[in-house]
């Protein structure tokens, strides 16, 4: 009956042999084995193994485990309380050193806690959805510019077909977004509405503050978010109120508010402001075809009964590919359909082209790696301080050690003592660190970026993490000093013949390491600060100054506003366009006989280049006459480079099967911020009826005035619609603010790192000086001046400083270039001069720190130094 190849698992047995008393071992082992084979017969092997393991663990109880000798050989409580007392006294006796240690460790722990908070915040994204594992986004893959691009937009009829064809699919949900104007009494705002199937609120479990999710089934109902509720109705419960919604100029409809979503969790990929039934598309558009495979909607979601069912669905979906590809032109043919699980969607949204998700977490994941590295480096800095100070300051405790050893303390006991003292110190540091993290670092960071990372102390993992950090730090910082100190013989200690601690090469190594790190941090701070100045000055490739713009709903309004604005004497020129640099560009696919390219397109009028200051470097721009140059395009230099045209003017390509010819080339300009690389872009001559933007070049210095004028005229012309427009300088929104935040963050980290290193140096130098007090006093009595004394103090640091800088500067250079390349597509040229600047800064603060000690030595009376003892 017994299967020879079957064995109980090995490691629990090993655990047992290690801990159970020897005399019980044979019996218990036998019992366990017998039960194991009984269970194998009764249940599955896996369950038997599980029971076996768990039983083994439960066997570890006081009556059965061995008595371990080291725990028994002395009265633990008395000893530990003595250690505790000694550590507290030690902390009180050297306030400076204690401060350096505690403060250093606490800041490092604070930063660690902050990194953890960011980590948790990132990976908590969307985890509040109850159906996060069974809800999937349907995606489409299509080849673009040589790689496979994933799209979040999918054909309109796909949801219905999926629902009919797959029994595994429990629910489907279509999502379409539309721009609307919302009116409530005298309040009018531009908003965006999300039209969805009523299943939306069942799939995505956003809790409601007021009202019921089911009411969304009614086509006249609307659910709004909490900020919208406050915006329109204040603090009151708006359920039952009526909102008038204009889909466009001619179509409007009244909706009854049936629900208000509770404040959305901060860690979310998707939300809504206004939510209504999908069938409203029949009202909003006369020609919305629900069954057109050639048209797409913003998103399609499915929910399956069981996540395991997803494979057959994925396989079965391949049949839709043909349906889709028959309906659309060849350019838009897809390669395959895919599914993305809601739980992990946030990591991928960066790579999926979609319309409904907020910024993905991919960037955060990169910054978590950075932060983790920084946290570890900070811990390393703080630990180095600790080790250095511990080694040097132990000279003052040699007698204590000698006495402890001669009354019977073994080396193990001494190590245990030093480690437990360390744990006491680290524990205090942990307390301060938690306070620092919670009340300084996290609020600081949240304040910088205007977001809330929803930090809670209730998280069990946080405490596990902090305790692990504490023990790790305590042991990492304490193990070397403990081993080093416990090595000495009591006889030589008590005889007084032993002198050590001042010339330990290890302290030099740690100090050097700290200086190298400080060098890297200072360089980063310097470069990030200089870079944000550099980018602020960097040309955008067109004139973004003295230009204002407005976005309008239709061509007629554009003409009306244009006529009014041209009357103003400050306005030099105006231009109309369909898209606008920095605000909107269309991504189109252009075809050559041999290849396809995805590029950006802007449709503009003849005046646009002139008004926006886009320089034509070759060929010509568009003719002023509105019907000319229909087939002509003006391309950017990047596009010329990308397509490897030697002589761009006259080149041809096709778009939507219409032939276009290049008539001119413009200088490159940045439509997106400097963080993303230039994209190939071209201009076409816009059709008059499509005009949506009006841009105006105004006289220098009259920008604010003209902007006020624009706003005034707008409210006269279009009292019904909210103002939409702005300064061209502001089109990148918060980009410059973000840049300066990056600089700020690095400066803070650099300051902390430098401060830690300086504290370390200060502590070390002051210990060194105080132990040489007699020597200096004698020197002074014999007539040494400040130069002699400073020489003898500085002497031992020159070499160290030289070495650290020789290692630190090239390293800083490599690190900072890597970071800059990663963060910005366009950045300043980092030269050795910049790194040198950082090094000089470091040298100055370092020498300054050491000088404080020199001054102190010089000021003390030599007699005081000599009369001790």
């Amino acid at each position: 009956m017994r299967n020879e190849s079957l064995h109980p698992p090995k490691w629990p047995l090993k655990l047992l042999r290690l801990f159970i008393r020897e005399q019980y071992l044979e019996e218990i082992e036998g019992d366990m084995e017998e039960i194991f084979f009984d269970n194998v017969e009764r249940y599955s092997v896996r369950k038997a193994i599980r029971i076996y393991t768990w039983e083994m663990i439960k066997l570890l109880r006081p009556g059965l485990i061995r008595q371990f000798r080291f725990l028994n050989s002395f009265n633990r409580f008395g000893m530990l309380s003595n250690y505790f007392k000694v550590s507290i006294r030690g902390l009180m006796k050297n306030p400076l050193n204690s401060f350096i240690n505690l403060f250093g460790l606490a800041s490092a722990i604070g930063i660690c806690m902050f990194s953890y908070a960011i980590f948790r915040w990132t990976y908590d994204r969307d985890q509040f959805h109850e159906n996060k594992n069974s809800v999937y986004l349907v995606t489409a893959f299509a080849p673009r510019n040589g790689t496979m691009q994933e799209y979040g937009r999918t054909p309109r009829p796909l949801a219905e077909s999926l629902q009919q064809d797959f029994p595994q699919i429990e629910k489907v949900c279509r999502v379409e977004d539309r721009n609307i104007v919302v009116k409530y009494h005298d309040q009018v705002f531009n908003e965006r509405i999300r039209l969805v199937d009523p299943t939306f609120l069942q799939m995505f479990t956003f809790p409601l503050k007021w009202g019921a999710a089911e009411s969304l089934k009614d086509v006249n109902s609307i659910v709004i978010s909490e900020p919208m509720s406050e915006k329109y109705f204040g603090e009151q419960n708006p359920v039952g109120e009526i909102l008038l919604i204009n889909f466009d100029k001619d179509r409007s409809k009244e909706f009854k508010v049936v629900g208000v979503a509770r404040k959305f969790p901060d860690a979310r990929s998707m939300d809504f402001t206004f939510l209504a039934h999908f069938d409203n598309l029949r009202t909003s558009e006369s020609d919305y075809n629900f069954h057109d495979w050639a048209a797409q909607l913003n998103a399609t979601f499915i929910q399956v009964n069981d996540p395991k069912d997803i494979k057959p669905v994925l396989r079965g979906m391949t049949k839709y590919r043909q349906l889709q590809n028959e309906a659309v032109s060849e350019d838009f043919a897809i390669d395959s359909l895919g599914l993305e699980q809601l739980a992990t969607l946030h990591i991928k949204t960066e790579d999926i082209r979609d319309d409904i998700f907020r910024e993905g977490t991919k960037d955060n994941i990169a910054s978590i790696a950075f932060l983790a590295a920084i946290s570890i480096l900070m811990l390393a800095l703080a630990c180095s301080n600790y080790i250095n100070i511990a080694i040097v300051s132990v000279t003052k405790r040699l007698k204590e050690l000698g006495v402890r050893k001669s009354i019977g303390a073994t080396r193990k006991v001494i190590i245990l003592q030093f480690l437990s003292e360390n744990i006491v110190t680290t524990f205090f540091a942990l307390l301060i660190g938690i306070l620092l993290g919670r009340f300084v670092v996290i609020p600081w960071f949240e304040g910088l970026w205007y977001f809330s990372m929803d930090f809670k102390f209730g998280d069990v993992n946080l405490w596990i993490f902090l305790v692990v950090v504490m023990f790790f730090t305590a042991i990492a910082s304490g193990i070397y000093p403990a081993l080093y100190i416990s090595r000495f013989q009591p006889v030589s200690i008590l005889r007084g013949s032993l002198r050590f601690g001042q010339k330990n090469p290890i302290t030099k190594v740690f100090l050097g390491f700290q200086l190298v790190l400080a060098c890297v941090f200072i360089t980063s701070a310097v470069i990030f600060t200089l870079n944000s100045d550099y980018l602020a000055e960097r040309e955008w490739g067109y004139s973004n100054r003295d230009v204002i713009y407005a976005q309008l709903p239709d061509e007629l309004s554009v003409e009306q506003l244009k006529n009014v604005m041209e009357e103003n004497a400050h306005v030099i020129s105006t231009a109309r366009s369909v898209q606008h640099i920095g605000r909107q560009q269309r991504q189109v696919l252009i075809a050559f006989p041999s290849q396809e390219q995805e590029v950006d397109m802007l449709a503009v009028d003849g005046n646009y280049f002139n008004t926006m200051g886009v320089d034509i470097v070759q060929g010509r721009g568009f003719n002023e006459h509105e019907t000319s140059d229909r087939q002509g395009v003006v391309v950017s230099q990047t596009m010329v480079e990308r397509l490897r045209w030697d002589n761009p003017v006259g080149e041809q390509f096709k778009m939507d099967s219409v032939q276009y010819e290049v008539i001119g080339v413009v200088k490159d300009f940045h439509s997106y911020s400097f963080s993303s690389p230039l994209r190939p872009t071209f201009f076409t001559h816009a059709d008059k009826s499509d005009y949506r933007f009006l841009s105006m070049k105004v006289e220098k210095g009259s920008m604010r005035e003209s902007y006020e004028f624009l706003r005034k005229k707008w409210s006269l012309l279009f009292p019904e619609s909210p103002f939409s427009g702005g300064y061209q300088e502001d089109v990148w929104g918060t980009y410059y603010v973000q840049l300066s935040i990056h600089g700020h963050v690095w400066r803070v980290f650099a300051s902390v790192a430098v401060m830690l290193a300086l504290l370390g140096v200060y502590g070390l130098v002051s210990l060194n000086v105080s132990s040489r007090k007699k020597e200096f006093s004698i020197k002074k009595v014999l007539g040494a001046n400040i130069k002699n004394i400073s020489n003898s103090i500085f002497q031992q640091y020159y070499l160290l400083l030289g070495f650290s800088l020789a290692l630190g500067t090239p390293l800083s250079y490599v690190v900072i270039v890597a970071i800059m390349d990663f963060a910005n597509a366009y950045h300043m040229n980092v030269t050795f001069w910049h790194v040198g600047l950082a090094a000089i800064l470091l040298i100055f603060v370092l020498l300054g720190t050491i000088s404080t000690q020199v001054v102190k030595v010089f000021k003390t009376n030599a007699v005081d130094g000599l009369k001790t003892e």
Binding site: E27, I28, G30, E33, I35, K58, L60, R61, G63
Partner: protein
């Protein structure tokens, strides 16, 4: 009574050892008790009860035969000592005395 400290679970284990006679070793005791109590017991709880009672002198033990099923390890067969049996008897008498001390009426009322 004071010197014979016997927990409820210990008492059950001790009774099982007495009942099983020469069959009383760890696995068998566990099996028997699980059947009677209708609940799962861990090896650890049985073993620590056995060891505790051996220390108190209610039980003795000696090695039995090794079997193949146990990977060649010997069983340890437990037997009650006369002291253990006396304690069990005492417990039983105390309980019986208490039961008979409950007035009949109260008992029946409770039951009804």
């Amino acid at each position: 009574m004071k010197k014979t400290k016997l927990g409820e679970f210990e008492e059950l284990v001790l009774l099982t050892v007495a009942a099983l006679q020469s069959e009383a070793y760890g696995v068998e005791i566990k099996r028997e008790l699980e059947e009677r109590l209708k609940e799962k017991l861990s090896v650890g709880s049985i073993q620590s009860a056995l060891k505790r009672m051996e220390d108190k002198g209610y039980l003795t033990s000696q090695f039995g035969e090794p079997t193949q099923k146990r990977g060649g390890k010997r069983k340890r067969i437990y037997a009650t000592t006369s002291h253990g049996r006396k304690v069990l008897e005492e417990m039983k008498n105390i309980r019986a005395g208490l039961w008979s001390a409950i007035p009949k009426l109260a008992y029946e009322v409770k039951l009804a």
